[in-house]
Symmetry: D2
Subunit: 332 residues, 4 copies
């Protein structure tokens, strides 16, 4: 049984609260949020305590682990304090938008021997994971091409986008992690192109809302990622892996298997699941299961701080490639 | 919050115990099983009490509802006693294998004003339910043909089959209920054919392991059901509804969406889910949700004692049709 | 090179004329139709002669084969005369609507040693044929259940239906032949149900427009056929074969592979092909190929007079089963 | 009726010969090939004359059109001579591997008013064409992302590759044309990455066998192309078009619709069609139809010399981008 303090009671924090409360091997002890009322409401619902401040939770020896679901700019501080307090850490992505702060954090916590997992939940999606297994067990042979399609149902409000870090660090960072997960080796070079097609205000933020990237690895494998901030048919998330023995494709799930036949269409299925909370509900559960199991079995979590750092390095490199029109060599 | 006594701690009883224990609006108070050790183990796992006998649970005023998952031949007795004790009842199908006992039970409990739901869980499968909704909202128009395919992964042990009531009352009874659910009107006549193809010992039981039925309704809709006791590619469960405005097909789900492409096949997916506990996991959860909601809102449960009775009448009629080679007129 | 006389220049006759004219191993020598203008128009288009009467074509020693695509009630006479004239015969289904006339014809031509093929074109559809091959090569194992779905896009004009012989002999006869083709053994018994759902005038013809049948074979295999005279989403033609080693399903083709994703649907494909001339275009070509090859190689055609006769016996039996509500034992 | 001279009787020339011979509005008058025996064999089969040399065919006033299917390095010469002789021209892609020669040819024939079509047959594939129509009729809205997957079943012999012009000019040139066809506007900039993964001898040719490209257009649309010279599961050819109103996907066809269900897989279909002659058989027929119709109706052919030239410019630019690691601005 792992006792958790949850930091953050926003949309994703509330989802984690429910998962922690329902988990047979977890106990939700504390919730902290700068908005006290948000923390209170969620804590009340799940029978947890409201922490008056972060320290209260970290100083309680009965707390084994923290789940960090607060705004991105608080992650580094919370990771550092939790690590020093000896708590196991499950932190939402990204670690931070600034690679220098991430590197500094890495040094700060180097001597703290605590398990840290970064919340790249998609690795736990059963279909994406099966794609990875098809690589691992040799079914696709040597990996030659990976194609990742990633389209959000709709643009976030512009004020959210302003502090998001931009498409590469906020959205495509998930796909960079997926690329590393599937490829099984590090990208060595990257090119990028992008456009503002969804909302012209994105251009004012010096950002793009539609982008494509290609990466290569040392072995010569090629990986393409395409992202759009708006997709009218739902949350489109596909991963294709092509190798010298075959291909596997992690396709989009739907809520039911109902096929419809009418005068206008054949085998039509219902629209895709709307967004990450629905689409990756299973993935979030498996992520929590695996984190808890890793801590209890004293093994390194499956998605490390270093994984979070490297995904950010890829996102930064994509930004440079986009601006310069040149390929960027990657160093981690 | 509904407090349950669970009768039966076998395979399906244990599944219900886990669902009850995890349900936010349910409390698993008692478990009873003739095998005391089975009850004890399950009760211990979920923090419930072991009832020394059925009466203990039924006499406890704190118990609101019973979930009957014991052997079929105990259902009528337990339903009767629970109804007299004023408990809400969720009972696994079938009510009984003998229509006379079911009719007698109906009379016995006629004056007991308790909610009773029979466990035709498939009605709660999201895909089958969407098929029903496509009928209800007029999408398929007037229903003209319903085709239900129902294949179990493998034959149960012969000693289980011996007391099962036969393919029609044990297995196809689910499909008869599905037919009534989808058709939205009663069948009026039925023909049947069947064979022993899976295991010759089934013939010694005067039973069949493969069967097909056709039914008509008063409006002239036709419904076909096919069943097999053995299906090497998994648990095949499909419902097709054809009408004058189109067709919908509730197809088989798989655990992932992974598509495989190799030198020998294209778009291959992984095998079907193995059996009802995996295949209908969502359905069992939604069934429990709906039963609890019905009791709490004092509305009639969605699947009534009468639904259980009528499915048995259809199963019995299929047996007669098979033996006589004649169509059987249905009376309920 | 096989020189053909074509009898009949209606819709299907014109299709055969075009196929014969384009075939590298066939020559379309004569066309005869009671409507001289129809014959003339088609003959002119393909550079064939118009036969003044049937005898002209049959008496021409340069004619090797006849293709009979005239109205059903002329088939027996034309088959008999062509057989006596020593011509190879490809005759559209059915041979006749009256089994007595078919039997008499069989006796009449018994001593004529000419190749005769009946136009059950669906046997030549690449997908249905692959289903048959999956039976033949053992892929599905022992055949246990066959399910044939057969829905025409729309009801023929009532005056056509009046002389059609009824749903079983006009439409389901194709499915009876498909059943025999797939099963690889003869049906021994049959039950049927039917309704008038599409057009009430069908009832005045003492016919049905929607029907379901079940048949068994000596080995115990079960076969279900469902038919409707009207299907708003196109020409729905599926064949499913279930055995102890697996299942194969010949699904509906569409004109393109385009998948559409919109706010309302996922993986929607375009509507099914509209009717038999489009849907079975390949099958008609392969049928002609195979007939020509059979004649040239002096082998028995793949679909014999006896196949045509047995399909009619099944259709007649279905009519009896429908009227009597009793299963009918089959004798050929 | 258009009378053709065919130049080239190799694999693709023989396919064209058969198409021309079977076409109701074409006549195959002459065949010329440097290998006289190849020309003779094909001419004999289709009842055409063997031209002793190119001039014989071009000087015959009865010849209306030429179909150029000879080796790439002969295209420019044959186009020039045929244009001067006033013949309509259907020429296989590419026009030439050297853009300077293409430009020179353009000037040479500028004053010849003859219809010229370049053989980008894929534009005529029914599914790809439907994707284009979904753009044209507004179904996908504004085009934002195009993703083209293009994988050949196997590497050509190394001696063929030596003179092929490299992956971009030999293989991806088809995809560059498809991109222009689908986008409906010109690419303005391009990046590329590539690897030698299939056969190390490809590196000795200073070529790649696996490559990825991204292009942008003036409106900001992004287009990704991925190519591999080897694909064990067949000839994988997909086109995806994503816009602000939806997405369409031209998926791979298979020879039949048979779905297979076994203990190891669900809905498995047979392997993809093997290579372009099978996969694009319909496209080749429609291409010929459209070329003949364009000539007869005196309209400009759908795929012009300029289309051929621009596809080559894109291929050359991809080569530069690959070598320099920089994006290349496109000028046509």
């Amino acid at each position: 049984m792992l006792r958790f303090a949850l930091f953050g009671a926003g949309r994703i924090g509330r989802m984690h609260a429910a998962e922690l409360a329902a988990h047979p091997d977890a106990e939700l002890s504390y919730i902290y949020d700068v908005y006290d009322s948000a923390a209170r409401e969620t804590a009340y619902k799940h029978g947890a305590k409201v922490a008056a401040d972060v320290a209260t939770a970290l100083n309680d020896a009965a707390v084994d682990a923290v789940l960090i679901a607060s705004p991105t700019d608080t992650h580094v501080d919370l990771i550092t304090r939790a690590a020093r307090a000896g708590k196991a850490i499950l932190c939402e992505k990204p670690i931070d938008l600034d690679i220098d702060r991430v590197n500094a954090c890495r040094e700060e916590i180097a001597s703290c021997d605590v398990p840290i997992q970064i919340g790249f939940n998609r690795r736990y999606d059963p279909s994406h994971r099966s794609a990875r297994e098809a690589v691992g067990n040799g079914e696709v042979g040597r990996v030659e091409e990976v194609i990742i399609t990633s389209r959000d149902p709709g643009l976030a409000p512009i004020e959210i986008l302003r502090t998001s870090g931009g498409l590469f660090r906020d959205m495509m960072i998930h796909d960079f992690d997926m690329a590393r997960f599937i490829l099984g080796e590090e990208p060595v070079e990257l090119v990028a192109m992008g456009s503002v097609l969804v909302d012209p205000r994105v251009a004012e933020l010096d950002d793009v809302d539609t982008a494509m990237v290609i990466m290569t690895t040392a072995s010569g494998a090629l990986c393409h990622i395409n992202c759009s901030r708006r997709c009218v048919y739902g949350y489109d998330q596909r991963v294709e892996v092509f190798g010298d023995k075959g291909m596997v494709l992690s396709a989009n799930p739907t809520a039911t298997t109902l096929e419809r036949y009418s005068a206008s269409a054949t085998q039509a299925r219902e629209p895709l699941l709307n967004f990450f909370i629905e689409r990756y509900a299973q993935a979030y559960r498996h992520q929590l299961d695996d984190f808890i199991a890793a801590v209890e079995q004293s093994r390194t979590p499956a998605v490390t701080f270093e994984d979070g750092r490297r995904a950010l390095i890829l996102a930064d490199a994509a930004g440079v490639a986009l601006k310069t029109g040149r390929s960027v060599k990657l160093e981690f």
